[in-house]
Subunit: 198 residues, 4 copies
Amino acid sequence: MPRTPQQYQQLKEERRSALLKAAREVFARRGLAATKMTDLAAAAGISYGLVYHYFPDKESVFATLVEEAIQDGIRLLTAERQGPGTPWEQLQRFCAQILEHVREETSIPLILVQARASESIPAPVQRALERYTTQFFQQLVELIEAGQSAGQIVKIPAAELARLLLSTVQGLALTQVLPRPDDAPFPATDTVLRLFRP
Amino acid sequence: MPRTPQQYQQLKEERRSALLKAAREVFARRGLAATKMTDLAAAAGISYGLVYHYFPDKESVFATLVEEAIQDGIRLLTAERQGPGTPWEQLQRFCAQILEHVREETSIPLILVQARASESIPAPVQRALERYTTQFFQQLVELIEAGQSAGQIVKIPAAELARLLLSTVQGLALTQVLPRPDDAPFPATDTVLRLFRP
Amino acid sequence: MPRTPQQYQQLKEERRSALLKAAREVFARRGLAATKMTDLAAAAGISYGLVYHYFPDKESVFATLVEEAIQDGIRLLTAERQGPGTPWEQLQRFCAQILEHVREETSIPLILVQARASESIPAPVQRALERYTTQFFQQLVELIEAGQSAGQIVKIPAAELARLLLSTVQGLALTQVLPRPDDAPFPATDTVLRLFRP
Amino acid sequence: MPRTPQQYQQLKEERRSALLKAAREVFARRGLAATKMTDLAAAAGISYGLVYHYFPDKESVFATLVEEAIQDGIRLLTAERQGPGTPWEQLQRFCAQILEHVREETSIPLILVQARASESIPAPVQRALERYTTQFFQQLVELIEAGQSAGQIVKIPAAELARLLLSTVQGLALTQVLPRPDDAPFPATDTVLRLFRP
DNA sequence: CATGAATGAGTCTTCATTCAT
DNA sequence: GATGAATGAAGACTCATTCAT
């Protein structure tokens, strides 16, 4: 008595999600080139060849994760932008959330770091990264400029501040998950926000 | 007219330097795993097998670059610490210099990013990275605490500030050299220093 | 209303036949090594794993087809041998029929071509091919010699003529089904029979 | 003291030729899909990875052989066409030569059989095969028609005769090299030429 | 020293076969 | 019986490293 197509479909979804979750951790720590398919299979607790039932090759697993991470980032920012409060409060919440991701080692920001950290990333991933980064960056600039108009944010070119924030977040992600000999505490959101104080 | 042993020695030194310089660029952009020996040879303009006259294997080229980068960072900080002026002025000069490195894409900070960005780094490199990072971090904390005693730096735990600075620098390195779709300007030193203003 | 065992049996026979028919087409065009089990399942319109209800493995599907083809060839020749008319008329009818098979792209002769075209055919298939080819060849030689005794066939060693006929038939099969850029007409039986005219 | 580029070049040519020669035998007997890279390396007496110094992948080795075989066939026909004698004599010499190839198991005609015998041949090879087959076929038709005008060849549509000849040659190649249980003698050129006698 | 050919271990990928449902 | 997910052995391909010249 075979399963219904729906059952198969659902099962497949679940497995696929589990695989992605496991793969995120592995890629985040090792990068694309240094990650082996066996690593992915082992991390997901499935057999070697089964990965290929869900993704055609290693790169496409990575690509999926990158797009996911990008979408998550955009969603985070957009949600706060549309939320209540002044621009400053929106920025505050956005920073708090994204830093929380980083602190919790959700691996999502690290995937973007890994994607950036190698030129030998497949071209489609490159393009997606460019496209969405631009979009994300623009939204952030708009938020900052709104805050500046309201006198809540220091009058430094918004693009400069935006880039600084993104760099800091990515840098923190990098120093959070990977060999961190130092017992340096994760910075408070307010500390990071000092960059924006008037 | 054969060369003297000294000439040979010098030639070898020069080649080795040239190779390291070329390798730094390549590793900075691709990472250890994704860089091939042919890439190194091609970048240095020497033949394939000749790389092995200077280094026993790929990892040791990378390891050399990592240690170099670490030493450079420590030297930079130490020099300013021993230089004239108040702690604030020392911090200011240090930031200015290290940001200049990043902006100029000297690749030196990026090598550290690459070293951090993969768990699959050879153990000796790992250890060197840990050791020196600790040392570097301690010096930075001392500098910050000195500035705080002098009332020149905001009273936030020095370790937190130190980590934030290092993260920001590495994040900027990451977004400087690699595909950067955004035309975001490189931040001014003073903007970064806002993190430390009382 | 459950089916009777007979009905089940019949259903199974039918499926098996359909599978063989589909497999014949696929193997004829791709050969044993290049044909995948998915190809067979897809061609037969059944599910992936179901093939294994009818055959233990891929090779045995192929082996079955080869034996079938051999038996068909022998049956064809034997039937004409036992039919009415002179040896020449028997040869004539045999050629007409086998060429008809080839022209109609029944795939039966092509299976034999595929079986011949690769050394990496399972040993049992090899042996069957040898055994039956010998048998078939002998019968054909006998027919030719009978025709020669009757003065109806040219006096060239019968084995030579037999081999030539078989080669021609297989060659025609090869050029009939596969990419045939040329619009060359399929030769008439009489043209082929010129080989045998006194 | 390294070799000069010329020496390297020559060495490479020679090795490449040797590899092609060995590969021809293997592909001729096994076909593309059933041939393993280890087979090629072993047949050529070189190491596994070295094959990839000469060809980017398995298919391109095969493709090279197919083009070679096609060119050889065309060259053979063209040479005789431009040679002395009546059309009949030209045809006679062409048949003699190509049959000699087949008899000697030069493998060249078999490569074409193998190329025809599988749909799963890379597209470029497919196209080359089509293109050249057309060209070859046309020349053969012209030769036959010339012979017919001179009353030396039977008045059957030239295209039909041409196809028959090619099929016969390929069929003979197939039955020559591969498991041939029968001790059937290779047919004399004159026997094949009976197809064309008026 | 310098060169690039040669080797083969390590990975990716495919796919025949098995198996739980 | 029927389905397609799961497994893993086999084979293609890459590339670090060695070596003859």
